[in-house]
Symmetry: C2
Subunit: 396 residues, 2 copies
Amino acid sequence: MRDVAIIGAGMIPFGRRDEDTLLDMLSYAALKALDDAGLGDQSVDAVYVGNMGAGIIQHQTSIASSLVDRLNLLPAAADAVENGPASGGSAVKNALLAVASGYYDSALVVGGEKMREVTGWRATDFVATMTHPQAEYPYGITLPGMAGMFTRLYMQKYGVTREMLVAVALKNQEMGTLNPLAHVEMAISKDGIYDNQAAIVNNPVVADPLHLYDACPVSDGAAALVICALEKIKKPAKAPVLIAGFGQATDTHTLQERADPTDLKAVTLAAQQAFERAKLKPADIHVAELHDAFTILEIAESEHVGFFKKGEGGKAALAGKTRLGGQIPINVSGGLKARGHPVGATGVAQIVDIVFQLRHELPKDRQVANAANGLTVNFGGFGNNVLAFVLRRVDL
Amino acid sequence: MRDVAIIGAGMIPFGRRDEDTLLDMLSYAALKALDDAGLGDQSVDAVYVGNMGAGIIQHQTSIASSLVDRLNLLPAAADAVENGPASGGSAVKNALLAVASGYYDSALVVGGEKMREVTGWRATDFVATMTHPQAEYPYGITLPGMAGMFTRLYMQKYGVTREMLVAVALKNQEMGTLNPLAHVEMAISKDGIYDNQAAIVNNPVVADPLHLYDACPVSDGAAALVICALEKIKKPAKAPVLIAGFGQATDTHTLQERADPTDLKAVTLAAQQAFERAKLKPADIHVAELHDAFTILEIAESEHVGFFKKGEGGKAALAGKTRLGGQIPINVSGGLKARGHPVGATGVAQIVDIVFQLRHELPKDRQVANAANGLTVNFGGFGNNVLAFVLRRVDL
């Protein structure tokens, strides 16, 4: 299995992009990554698109074929990969293994979603298409509903408090205001969302005990990576970032079937696989992007990947250990919470943000000093299909 | 890059399967392939699902996560792959490269589609979601419409006649009646669809010059394969079939942009890549499954892959050269024309049929004697994303 590195990364601003089609967004992100890779006239051998909802939202299939045509990358092979909110991660995985196999030397991975074409209940319904088609969807469960029940159990078992959740929301929203690509640009204060009467209005309950500011927004967005066999990289435009480890694991589709629903086994397993491949351990990681579709998930994942013991993640967030400059900075980009969560884009966007970190090219107020190793966790379904990537800066 | 072989193959009867959900069909095909592989309690490392339309038709995403749960293959990695009517081929490709990379030792690939939940114009509209979202779909072009125009050009340039198209229809429908898994069970005669007044009623024009019997039916169905690194196969239950070569190429999304629309460049390129990898040539192939969504495509593909010179494919079909016992038997299964074309299933089903041939396990009236090498072509869009596989029997 050949080593594979990221040589190009690009992302378009997430948010409301009413003027762009899905294909526009995928193209813009792809061009940024291709340009970043400095490939010049060189093409890539294969294209992978991570997308969850083009069929449902855009009434469109074969989007990888459209994209490769639009980018004039013909006759490069092109496929779309779907794995719910982990579609981006799954696209990276398949590109990675294709290049690792030796069949292709290079690949472009683009993740994107245009979610704001559907609004109100239709947006929640779209996301709910990832629930079990017989055991969940017909009964009306939604992802915020699941997250609410999960949070209640986590609070009961591990003593997580609303204040800890709010600490995550404040940290990620603050970081989002510093990130020009983030969807959420609005600063919030503890006072405004937690402490006083105004908070009841500003931050209403969405799915008890989760409030509005515990959830990510519904966003349009796209992100892209160019990957290449390490042995084929001669004069890199920028420091390559090795995909040092990758892991993916599944769990029961429904939350109710898990012996302990607070135990996110697929997160644990995916991270273990990624660390094992990378020959690194949680303590070696300098910066992480975790899948904080809801604040509770950042806390739970920070424990399941091994940064903190079970029950310590919430306290760590409250103590500032996951802030920039803390023990392990998490979601310095703003995370899903503030960068936004265009579902098919997220798994790719997380890696793009880590690439920016490991290349040390971010402004001081967002750069983790001397970051060399990063981790991403892309969480599909409600933890039923999870991918983890360990990334390592390479100085050739 | 490790050699990868098929050790299990399974398919459920194609047709109308009103009683089954999509998940049922995927599960049944998967269980047949797993059983065929004789894995016993052994699991597989990864699952790949080929599907085009679950989002649109079933309003369902994350189907790979549902399937791996349903089959109790947890915590195996699972992704869905979409590439229009070549989704099945793309699922096989990604499973192949994942195992070839050394990351996984084994994988289950399941292709399936439940298309008969939508009827009438909605079925044609569903298929048309693979056309270009800005340059084609809004103008109402359908796949039969494209195929009709393509056929007219092919007739003009290469002298293909209606009689040659009918020869393909008769051959494939005749073979379909012998295949217990085929959708179309009805025998047809040249007299009934071509020669007399009754033919005008029985075989009306669909998209001039194509008639009803030039097109595949709209089917439900699923097919599955278990693949394994060749070096890991110890005591195979049945003769393994090596995936000796694979190729994939893209072409302009729209037919109109091609300098010569009769030139299916992606078919030529994909087949060339597959032959090159396999170190075989067209003359070495004993049996082929080509993507005859329309009769003209079997003729055109038989030329583009190199079985016949341009302009000779139609004559060869008329002369019986592509029948069982002929120079190169094509679509002995009945092809898409008679086995049916549940879009996500087709690329997998073609390979399943070749596996049955290369294992010499079919009844005499369908078995190509001593077949050792096979070819499949899975045609996405209108030739804008094509996969080809060269398969070789291995006697360990």
